[in-house]
């Protein structure tokens, strides 16, 4: 593996940030209503200059009130799920791990479906709060049962998570069989991942989780490199492995819970983006974490843009796009870079 220097991290991150900005701009200009790129840029610059609310025309509202919050939220969630994916993969030392593998998704799904069935979805914060609560409870349960003698063993944690997840899946199916037509629609869209009701409030809610989550995980990136070489070795190097695993598990789970609570279950991002970034830039977490976050953001924004434009005015679930386009692209990456050591 080539040496990763700070310079290399900065250069690659800057390039990926540039790509992300281009994708954001592109996503703001396309949609079911055609708005010229120049007009988009003018509207965008105008809104940056004057922050006051005033009477706005349709184009301005489409870009600033519909597309912008959506693009920003998709970016945050994409970054969050990808980072969480990186951490779960190294933590469980399992290439199949993704942010949902330990049941967080099923937990938040149960919370959300219960809220929908109890009619809490009419309150504006009903669903995110219920979803987040469900996820937190699941994290707690999995953590409680996943430890042995106060230590986290990857396989025990994995089994506890998977079993809890399948138990909760049964609960989900049970609740689904009880629900009526209209509730079913809401539930299904949530289970497939849905950005159509994004707003700035949800953006503000999850922003701290993603930001502080990233700062924490990035500050531990050297430790993850050691962990990758084997737990024994890491302990001998003076690393308090148990503490690291505990904190990483909690922060990656929190990032996942926050992301899922605002947009439902978007699959695939947290699995393939980390692998994609690893094949492109290597397994050094100092580079892997920021590049995964940036690629994840770009990837999910692009997927969501496709989801809302391909069959407009009918909107596709974003999960369909992430899997349909992400899967083949990932296979291509795998085949091209056969020699590179993955996880």
């Amino acid at each position: 593996m080539k040496r990763v220097t700070l310079k290399k991290v900065i250069v690659i991150s800057s390039l990926l940030t540039l790509l992300l900005l281009l994708i954001v701009l592109f996503s703001l200009t396309v949609g079911s209503v055609k708005i010229k790129p120049q007009q988009t840029i003018t509207i965008f610059l105008h809104s940056l200059m004057e922050l006051g609310e005033k009477a706005r025309d349709a184009e301005e509202m489409i870009i600033l009130s519909l597309r912008l919050p959506r693009v920003l939220l998709a970016g945050l969630v994409g970054a969050g799920l990808s980072m969480a994916g990186v951490i779960f993969q190294v933590l469980l030392r399992n290439p199949l791990a993704d942010p949902y593998i330990l049941g967080v998704s099923s937990g938040s799904a149960v919370g959300t479906i219960l809220a929908i069935l109890l009619g809490l979805s009419t309150a504006s914060f009903g669903l995110p709060v219920a979803s987040f609560t469900g996820a937190l409870l699941t994290i707690g349960i999995v953590f409680y049962f996943g430890r042995q003698n106060g230590k986290i063993h990857p396989n025990t944690l994995l089994l506890a998570g998977v079993v809890t997840g399948s138990f909760l899946s049964a609960v989900i199916l049970f609740l689904l069989s009880l629900s009526q037509k209209e509730e079913l629609h809401t539930i299904l869209f949530w289970l497939m991942g849905d950005f159509s009701f994004s707003n700035f409030i949800s953006f503000r809610i999850i922003f701290p989780y993603i930001l502080f989550g990233f700062i924490f995980l990035y500050s531990r990136s050297r430790h993850y490199n050691l962990l990758l070489l084997g737990e024994e070795g890491a302990i001998q190097m003076g690393l308090s492995v148990e503490r690291l695993k505990l904190l990483s598990y909690l922060s990656a789970s929190l990032i996942t819970a926050a992301s899922v609570s605002v947009c439902g279950l978007i699959g695939f991002v947290g699995l393939i983006v980390p692998h994609g970034a690893r094949t492109l830039f290597g397994a050094d977490h100092r580079l892997l974490l920021p590049s995964s976050a940036l690629i994840g953001a770009s990837f999910l924004i692009l997927s969501d843009t496709l989801a809302r434009t391909l069959l407009a005015p009918v909107e596709l679930p974003v999960g369909v796009i992430t899997a349909a386009f992400g899967g083949p692209f990932f296979i291509y990456l795998l085949r091209r870079r056969k020699g590179v050591k993955t996880l």
């Binding site: 949609g31 079911s32 209503v33 407009a312």
Partner: protein, 316 residues
């Protein structure tokens, strides 16, 4: 205002009263000058919009039908993909399906009024339209008679009250006729099938349940608390309905096969008597002016009397 004037003791200073009066006059004059209308919709929301609406978007098929019946053809600028009646509705711009709309398209149509329904459209949709500053009126009929109310409300909203009243009058008369004709007849037990797999019927609180009752029938699932309960064939066998009516929800559905499937269960009274019928689903699940057609059709099917020949396929 009055409660405020007391502590200030303005009765001692008549000019204060004059000023207040002048202010009130000014305020009310401004109210009168701006032609904005304020309505309370059927879920208790306040809806304000300037002048008579000229660009209306309908978010459900039944609303579209009501709007066309009220003669608002010109003012409708957007409908949903599910709006298939009248034919002219298909020429309007579709803003998505009624469970999921494309807000970009709605904004770009620059509507001055959006009409939504509490049954079908979600609360989130309405909240979002509100936040985007688009006046949104929600109707929420739950029974046959509520539909008349909703037609009247939309008539008042769109300054088509007379037209609305005449539609309502006709619907009421036809409904009365159905009730009178079926009053003296026995009330057959009816099973209305609205879905094949899983088999779904209509329970308490649904429109179709109300229609069955008004048409002089007894819904075998009428006491179920769920609005659209799932029924196994066994349950239908046990309750042995005298009439089975299949709603043609799915245009691609194979209804011949569904009828022959029922025909295997000779213990069911309806099957023995050859009383399996089809009904066009749009007539019984859309709270629109056409619901009266649905009611008449339902009454006809329920009270047809026992048939000796195998059930014929109803062509609608």
């Amino acid at each position: 205002m009055r409660s405020h004037s007391h502590p200030f003791r303005c009765y001692k200073k008549p000019w204060v009263l004059y000023l207040l009066g002048l202010l009130l006059l000014l305020l009310s004059w401004r109210e009168m000058a701006s032609p904005s209308s304020i309505f309370i919709d059927e879920v208790g929301r306040k809806v304000t919009f300037p002048g008579p609406p000229k660009r209306i978007i309908s978010l459900a098929p039944n609303i579209t039908e009501i709007l066309f019946a009220l003669g608002m053809d010109e003012a409708i600028v957007g409908v949903t993909l599910n709006c298939n009646y009248p034919e002219k509705a298909k020429e309007k711009v579709a803003v998505g399906s009624y469970i999921r709309v494309d807000f970009e398209r709605i904004l770009s149509l620059k509507p001055d009024l959006v009409i939504a329904t509490g049954a079908g459209n979600t609360r989130d949709m309405v909240n979002r339209l509100e936040r985007l500053g688009i006046p949104t009126y929600v109707i929420f009929p739950k029974k046959f008679d509520d539909v008349l109310q909703s037609i009247l409300h939309l008539g008042q909203l769109l300054r088509r009250e007379e037209k609305a009243l005449s539609i309502i009058q006709e619907m009421k008369e036809r409904k009365q006729k159905v009730i009178e004709k079926t009053k003296s007849l026995p009330r057959p037990r009816v099973f209305l099938q609205i879905g094949e797999s899983p088999m779904v019927t209509v329970g308490k609180g649904s429109f179709a349940d109300d229609l069955i009752r008004l048409a002089g029938g007894e819904n075998i699932a009428g006491e179920e608390r769920q609005m659209y309960p799932r029924f196994g064939r066994e349950e239908v066998l046990r309750r042995s309905p005298e009439v089975i009516i299949i709603s043609t929800m799915n245009p691609k559905g194979d209804y011949d096969r569904m009828i022959s499937e029922w025909n295997r269960w000779k213990t069911i009274y309806a099957v023995k008597q050859g009383r399996i019928h089809l009904i066009h689903s749009d007539l019984i699940d859309r709270p629109s002016p056409r619901m009266i057609d649905g009611l008449e059709e339902m009454a006809r099917l329920i009270h047809q009397g026992p048939l000796l020949r195998p059930p014929e396929k109803e062509s609608k």
